[in-house]
Symmetry: C2
Subunit: 458 residues, 2 copies
C-alpha cells in the first residue's frame, strides 16, 4: 500500500479517526458529478488545528498528499485525492467559536455548514449571506470562493471572509486578516487563501462577515416570452441602481424541471426570481420600481411571494435545482458547468449557449445568478454513456471559450478543481505561471491537493 509509513504514523495519534475501511474511502472518492471514483488511501478526521498541523507535518515529511474534504459538494472534482494519500475530512471541526454581534462577525471552524451557522444566528438578527445550492462547509466555500443567490447584494466568499487561520504545507499555523473591516497591512493573504482550493494551506478557522437580517423582504417570480427580455430586465434593474438582494434566471427547460419536481405551475418560459431587502418602505419601493421595468420589458405572470412560507418555498425550489434536474432524467448524472461574463454580454452568452445545447441534442437547463453575469448549465448525461459525456465536456469547453471571448471567466463560482485546469492557461496566459510560482513558494513539494488548479512543476 502506498504511504503505509505515513498512515501508520497518523494512526498512532488519530486512532480510529484515521479510517481506512473501503466504504469510508469510497465515500470520500465520489463527487456530485461525473468524475470517476478515486478513493483516497485513508480518511483523517482531525478535531483541532493542532491535529491538522501534526497531520500535515507528518505527511509533508513522508511525501504523502493531503486533500481537504468539506462536504464534498464541489463540482469540478476538487476534493478527490487523485494522487492518493489522505482525505482530510473537516466535519468534526464544526463549531461556532464566537458570534460578535456588535461587530457583525462570526468566528467558526471550517467544517461548520452555512445552514448550521444560520440556524445559530437566527435569534441574533444577523445572517451569513453566501448560499450555494448545497449546504456546503464554510471551509470548502472559502476554498472555492463560492457565491450564491444573494452575492449580487452581499458579495461572494471573497467579500465575506475577513480572516483565517491556516495550516501551511509544512505544518506551521498562521493567521491572516483581523477583526477590522479593512486593512492595508501588507499582502492580502486572506484573499490569497480564499479560492485556493486547499492547494496552498488548510483552513482551520474563519472570521466571517455577517449582515443584518433584513427588516422587510419582498420576493417575486415573473415570466418572460423570451430570455432576452429577462436579461434586459436584469441590466435595466442594475442600471437604475435598484438594490436587488437576489435575481436569478431560469430558462424554459428549468421551469419545466421545477414544475415536475415541485408540483408548481410556472409557465414554460424564461423566468426571473427576485428579492428585495430593506426597510418596509424601501423594499416596497424597490419592488414597485422593478415591477415597472418588468412591465416595460413585456414580462408577465408577475407573482409576489408575500408570506414567509411562499418565499421559503420559492428559494427552496431554486436551491433544489440540481436534484430536480437529475430527477427530471432518471438514471442521469449531471455535468454542471458555470461561466461568468460582463453583464453587457450576458444575453449573447446565454443565446449562444442555448443554441449550442440545442444543437448538441443534450438536455441542459440554464439557471444562473444573473445579477452577477453568472450562469450554469446542468447537462444531463445518461450514466455510462461515453458519447453523451464527451458531448457534454465539449459543450462545457465551448462555454468556457465563449466566456473568455466575451471578456469573462471560465468559472464564476464553482472553481477549477480538475475539471477546468486545462482551461487555466487559456484564461490567464502568463499569469498562470505566477500562480505556479506562488504554489511552489507555499507548497514546494506539492503535498496539498496535488493535481488541482496548478502544478508545482509547471
Amino acid at each position: 500500500m502506498p504511504h503505509d509509513t505515513a498512515l501508520a504514523e497518523l494512526a498512532s495519534f488519530l486512532g480510529d479517526r484515521l479510517a481506512r475501511s473501503k466504504p469510508e474511502r469510497e465515500a470520500h472518492g465520489r463527487s456530485e458529478t461525473w468524475f470517476p471514483e478515486t478513493p483516497p488511501d485513508a480518511v483523517a478526521y482531525p478535531e483541532t488545528s493542532a491535529e491538522v498541523s501534526r497531520i500535515i507535518s507528518t505527511c509533508a515529511r513522508l511525501g504523502c498528499p493531503v486533500t481537504a474534504w468539506g462536504t464534498g459538494t464541489s463540482l469540478e472534482g476538487h476534493a478527490l485525492a487523485v494522487r492518493g494519500g489522505v482525505s482530510l475530512d473537516m466535519s468534526r471541526m464544526n463549531r461556532v467559536l464566537a458570534i460578535r454581534a456588535e461587530d457583525m462577525q462570526a468566528i467558526v471552524q471550517p467544517g461548520l455548514t452555512r445552514e448550521a451557522l444560520n440556524s445559530d444566528l437566527r435569534a441574533t438578527g444577523l445572517m451569513f449571506s453566501v448560499d450555494p445550492g448545497a449546504d456546503a462547509s464554510l471551509g470548502g466555500m472559502a476554498a472555492t470562493r463560492a457565491s450564491g443567490t444573494t452575492s449580487v447584494r452581499y458579495g461572494t466568499m471573497r467579500d465575506n471572509v475577513m480572516g483565517l487561520e491556516v495550516v501551511l504545507a509544512d505544518g506551521r499555523v498562521i493567521r491572516t486578516g483581523s477583526g477590522a473591516r479593512k486593512s492595508s497591512a501588507g499582502y492580502d493573504l486572506t484573499g490569497l487563501f480564499v479560492g485556493s482550493e486547499g492547494t496552498l494551506g488548510i483552513i482551520t478557522e474563519l472570521t466571517l462577515k455577517l449582515h443584518g437580517q433584513p427588516e422587510a423582504i419582498s420576493a417575486a417570480v415573473c415570466a418572460f416570452d423570451d430570455f432576452e427580455a429577462a436579461v434586459r430586465t436584469v441590466i435595466a434593474t442594475i442600471q437604475m441602481g435598484i438594490p436587488m438582494a437576489r435575481i436569478e434566471f431560469v430558462d424554459e427547460t428549468g421551469a419545466t424541471v421545477f414544475n415536475a419536481a415541485n408540483g408548481t405551475d410556472l409557465p414554460e418560459k424564461p423566468h426571473l426570481m427576485v428579492e428585495f431587502h430593506g426597510s418596509e418602505l424601501s423594499a416596497a419601493e424597490d419592488a414597485k420600481r422593478f415591477g415597472e421595468i418588468v412591465a416595460e420589458m413585456g414580462g408577465a405572470h408577475f407573482d409576489w411571494a408575500t408570506t414567509t412560507e411562499d418565499r421559503n418555498r420559492l428559494w427552496k425550489m431554486r436551491h433544489g435545482a440540481y436534484p430536480a434536474c437529475l430527477a427530471f432524467r432518471p438514471g442521469s448524472m449531471g455535468l454542471v458547468t458555470d461561466i461568468c461574463v460582463p453583464i453587457s454580454r450576458l444575453a449573447e452568452a446565454v443565446r449562444e449557449t442555448r443554441a449550442d445545447i440545442a444543437e448538441s441534442g443534450l438536455t441542459g437547463p440554464i439557471i444562473g445568478h444573473v445579477g452577477d453575469g453568472n450562469f450554469h448549465s446542468v447537462l444531463l448525461i445518461e450514466r455510462d454513456n461515453a458519447a453523451e459525456l464527451k458531448a457534454a465536456k465539449a459543450l462545457a469547453h465551448r462555454m468556457a471559450e465563449r466566456a473568455l471571448r466575451l471578456g469573462g471567466t471560465i468559472t464564476g463560482e464553482h472553481g477549477v478543481g480538475m475539471g477546468k485546469k486545462d482551461l487555466m492557461e487559456m484564461e490567464h496566459g502568463a499569469a498562470w505561471e505566477v500562480m505556479a510560482r506562488i504554489k511552489r513558494a507555499l507548497d514546494p513539494d506539492g503535498i496539498l491537493n496535488p493535481g488541482k488548479v496548478v502544478e508545482v512543476s509547471q
Copy 2:
C-alpha cells in the same frame, strides 16, 4: 554614480524622459510627511506598458532598483527610493482607456487621478467611489489599498479593482481578473497586487468598478457633547442597517482646525459628518432614522447640508483636513498615522488615544472613517524638532500596539511603506514570513521598491 550603466541604457530609449536633474530627483525624494528627503538616482517617465516592461527588464538585468511613483501622497514613505535607483513616475500614463457604462466599469491607466476619472464620468451617471483625502493616482491607490469617506458603503480599492495589467519584476506583462463581476478561476492575483505597494509588480492598467451616481443625497453635520456618544451613534446606525454612504468622525481639536481653515463656526465638540445615498424616498427615510438615533444619543446642532453647494463645501472641508491641520500650527509638519479596529472597540481605541495624545503634549486632531472603525491622528510636529518627532513616533507606535490589542490592524488604509515595516511582525507573526516567500517568488532579486513591506532576505 551608482547604476550608471542601467541609467545610460534607460536613457538610450527614454531620451529626456529619463530625468537626472537635481530638482527633478529632489521632487521625487520628498513625501508629504516627516521622512527625510531621499532623491532617486533618476526619474523615468514611461508612456506605455511596453516601455515599463523594457525599463523593468533593463533594471532587473543590471540590478537597479525601481520604485513606482503615482502622485507621491502616500504617508509612510512608500514612494521613496530609499535604496536608490529609478523613480518610475507614472504621470504620463494617465488616460481613460474605456468606459463601459453598461458594465459599470472603467479601464484606466495608473497615472490617472481619481478626480480626473470622476470628471470624465460626470456625464455618464456613474462615479468612481474611492476618495482618499488627496487627489491620488489610481495606480497608487490600488498599490496602497486605499480607501476613503465612502468605503463604508462602496468598499475600498480591494473591492473596486476588478482586474489589472501588471509588469512583473522580470519585465513580463500579465493580466489579472476579467470583466466579470466575480470569478473562481484560481488564485486571486488581482487581490495580491492590490496593496502590494509596488513591491511585487508595476500596475500599468486597471479595470475599476463604477457605481451609479445616487439619485438623491442627504448630508449632515452634527455635534456631540462627548466622543463616546458619537461612537455609539455610529454603532447604532450600523446595527440598524441604515446604509450610510459616509460617516466621518472629527474630534473637538479637529473642529477647531476646520473652523480656523474654513471660517466655519462648528461648536468645538466632537462631530459626525454623514451622507445617505438612495432614491428620494430612501435617502430621506435613512436621514430621518439617523436623526432619531442622534437625538437619542444626545447629539445636537444637527445641520443638514441641503444644497449641492453646501454638501460640496462640507466634503471639501473634510478632504482638506490635512492642509488645515498643517496651517493650524505654522511651520509644522505632520506625522499622520492610521489604525483600524473592530467597531465594538472603537470607543476604547479613541479614548485611549486621546488620553495618550493629551499626555504627550502634542497637538493631534483625531479624524476618521469611523464607519469602518478606522481613524487617524495628525500629529503636528515642529520642523527639525527631534524631540517632538520622537514623541510622535512613539505615540504612533503605541497606537498600532493598541489597535492589535483590540483585535484590529496597524493600518486601515495608509499602508506599510517604511514607516510601519517594523510593526509587521507584531501584526502578522509567522504570516509575515509567508509574505516574504511571496516576495521572493515574484521578485527574487528585490528590484521592486526594496525596503518596503517585507525584505527578500527575511
